[in-house]
Amino acid sequence: MKNKIIIILGALFLMCHLGMGQDLLINQGHRSENGLWCFPLLSDTTQYLYLPADAALVMEDSLPKFSFMRYILEKPSTEASSSALSQADGGGILHFLVQYDTPKGMIQQAEEELRETYENEDIKIRGPVVFKKARYTVISSIVNEDNVRTNRYLTSGEAPVLEGSKIALAFEMDPIKSKLLMESLKMTTSDISVAFELTFEGISDHFEASMEVDWNEVKNSQSFGGKANVYVVSAEVEAGFEKLRKNNNIRLDIRGSNTKMEALIQVVYDKLLTLMFEPVIKDDVPKEDNSNSEDFITDAVTGLFETDGALGSGNILGFGLSAHYKQKDINFQGTGTMDFTGRFPSERNHFLTFNLGNLYQEYGQDSLIFRDVPMWDPAFQQRAVYVGIDGSLEREFEDMIEGVTVWIKKQHANDDITLKDVFVNKDKFSESEGRIPIIYLNHGDTDLDQWMNYEYKTIWNFTGGAKFTTAYKPDASSMINLYTPFKRKAIELEGDLDELTQADIKVTKVKIEYDFFGETQSHDVKIRQGDALDEKSFEITLPNDQDEINYTITWFKKDGSRMEKQGTDQYGLIFIDDLPE
């Protein structure tokens, strides 16, 4: 008895395909003498689409849309060196635009060739293949990061699916890579290639196939246990089908050219699977059945893939490895035939790769393409003036001085005025490690010598409330050193105390007065017979520009009368025995 099972799959395949909107006959490509690949359409075989043939840098006004700029930065020296030459810092910026397209002449040539070859004047190349997806990849050891082997498409991304669209690529690199790239771009084949991976869809050629199944052999096949209700995993099913096909229990007769064999076998096996097995949930497999064991599944699948296993070729035709099935009780007997007809949707990748080549040879002297740029630009410069503090002043922070404010005034070339201040006290001085900066920028100061000039003043706050403000002083140095604005001075007293005793002087009082930054300071001392004069001197603090003090000496006599004398001194010596006449 012969069961004839007609399965019309063609309509299904075609419907799948029509949804794609581009019915390329993917196996009927024609390669023209100029290298252009053209594919006819199923809906009208006189209409062709072509695969873009060229990828390159975008050109505009005879210049490539490419630039490689190296920039040089001053780098502060970190090590003492006896060499006058040192390595500057910097890097490079590479930017270029790429596209893929096809020269019109090439298309015309291919069209003429197609008409001639197929003797049909109606043949027309309608346009480019529309890609399903597109990616670009930059192949370069210099531009790419190191050790990207595990991810070979590191520098890659989505690309346009229509030819003629441009994509821009930009890379920043360190000085060494910049140098390497510059040297590489002087070579015929530089270390930058760009590849487009373009995926397109089409349909296979028409095929017709018949599958003849010897159901008696299939039912009794030990591949599936030789009986119904046997539980198996999908890898076993596929291996069983392969075995049956090898033993001619399943015979496949394909009619049609360039059939995608693998896909067809998958369709056939899918159909057999539906006829012979029903899927089951793993948990429904009886416990006593060995196939429910994870180990069993692992062993079964592993065995199939061993060199001499049923799937030793490595083919997996679409089955999941460990899906579970239960064999049906097959009622078919004798030989059955199933017919298949149709076309398969199919996907292909088209690659366009090009190398940037020796751009330096042609454009190396063109500053629009290659340029080295020193990054020094006055507009981006800033002047730092540091405030330094003398050691003697540091000590005074604990005693005489509460703090000092330093003001900088910079009159710029564009008439702007920068006015900045910094307050320094004991704490701030400690935190700054002795370098307190005041920064001003460049405001149109094209004369850099002039830009260096500034004025500064200081405002001192002393303990006790005295304040001292200096006038603005012009300067051009990078450091404003602050010194104590006052000095210590000793005022010694001299005289013959015996002589004072003989003159009935009981006590001598010396009072000194002086100005200390606007505050009058006064001190006095009394001297009696027997005192040591060297212990009666004054220790005073005077502004640096001041030496004179005023003094008043009052002599008190034993009879209660007194005498007084006033004077000024700038030498630090007051005679107390010079009585008024």
Binding site: H30, V138, D146, V148, M187, E197, L352
Partner: protein, 228 residues
């Protein structure tokens, strides 16, 4: 395929095998090379309205690509301040397929020996590759070092004539070894570049294609020009 009989033609240094009858479905031609021969398997396509008979060939002949008469290959080393080599960059582009000379050779053979209307059309279109990548294999240390130096590569297409690029960043040791190899090739004879494809013949037969050649052959044009 029942009627295929291999015909061997020996002329000077040329060995060709082909079916005896004209316009066979499949035939194999051996193209002589300086030291070996290149086997080309051809499959007949649909006869054109003009009566011309196209033949399509299985992918073969992985080689350096050319542009403006230069092979697309570069290898440059760089050194530090003291002149000591620090590393190098190796970059080259590959294509596969018959070159113009080989195409011309086969066309002459087809018209003369097969059918006056037979011509070489293109490579078989029905080929696929899983990852489109070129693999490096070897039985020596340099091959392993080179494999570890691969930085990036593009895929290779099933269409003949399309290019693929590979870029390697070599360390100092590998650089010195490669420099030596380009002068006196030895180890690179056992370093292989391979692309695997699966092609379907017009009759639906699946053929596993291994586009494979060693670096000595692939770099040969460079080695020759370097040493002469």
């Amino acid at each position: 395929m029942k009627n295929i009989i291999i015909l061997t033609i020996i002329s000077l240094c040329l060995v060709i095998s082909v079916g005896q009858s004209n316009a066979q479905d499949e035939l194999t031609i051996l193209i002589p090379t300086p030291k070996d021969s290149l086997e080309v398997r051809l499959f007949k396509g649909e006869t054109l309205p003009s009566g011309a008979i196209p033949y399509n060939y299985l992918p073969l002949h992985l080689r350096l690509s050319e542009r403006d008469e230069y092979h697309e290959f570069s290898f440059f080393s760089y050194s530090g301040d003291n002149g000591e080599i620090k590393g190098s960059i190796l970059h080259f582009l590959l294509v596969w397929g018959l070159d113009n000379e080989q195409r011309s050779y086969i066309n002459q053979f087809l018209t003369k020996e097969v059918d006056s209307l037979a011509f070489l059309n293109r490579s078989i279109a029905n080929c696929i590759s899983d990852d489109h990548l070129i693999s490096i294999t070897s039985d020596n240390e340099l091959g392993e070092m080179l494999g570890n130096s691969l930085n990036s590569q593009s895929g290779i297409a099933y269409q003949e004539g399309t290019k693929s690029a590979m870029s390697f960043k070599l360390n100092a040791e590998t650089t010195l070894r490669m420099q030596q190899e380009l002068e006196q090739p030895e180890a690179i004879k056992n370093i292989w570049l391979t692309v695997n494809m699966e092609c379907s013949t017009p009759k639906g037969e699946i053929i596993q294609i291994e586009l494979k050649d060693n670096l000595y052959h692939i770099f040969n044009p460079i080695i020759i020009s370097k040493n002469h």
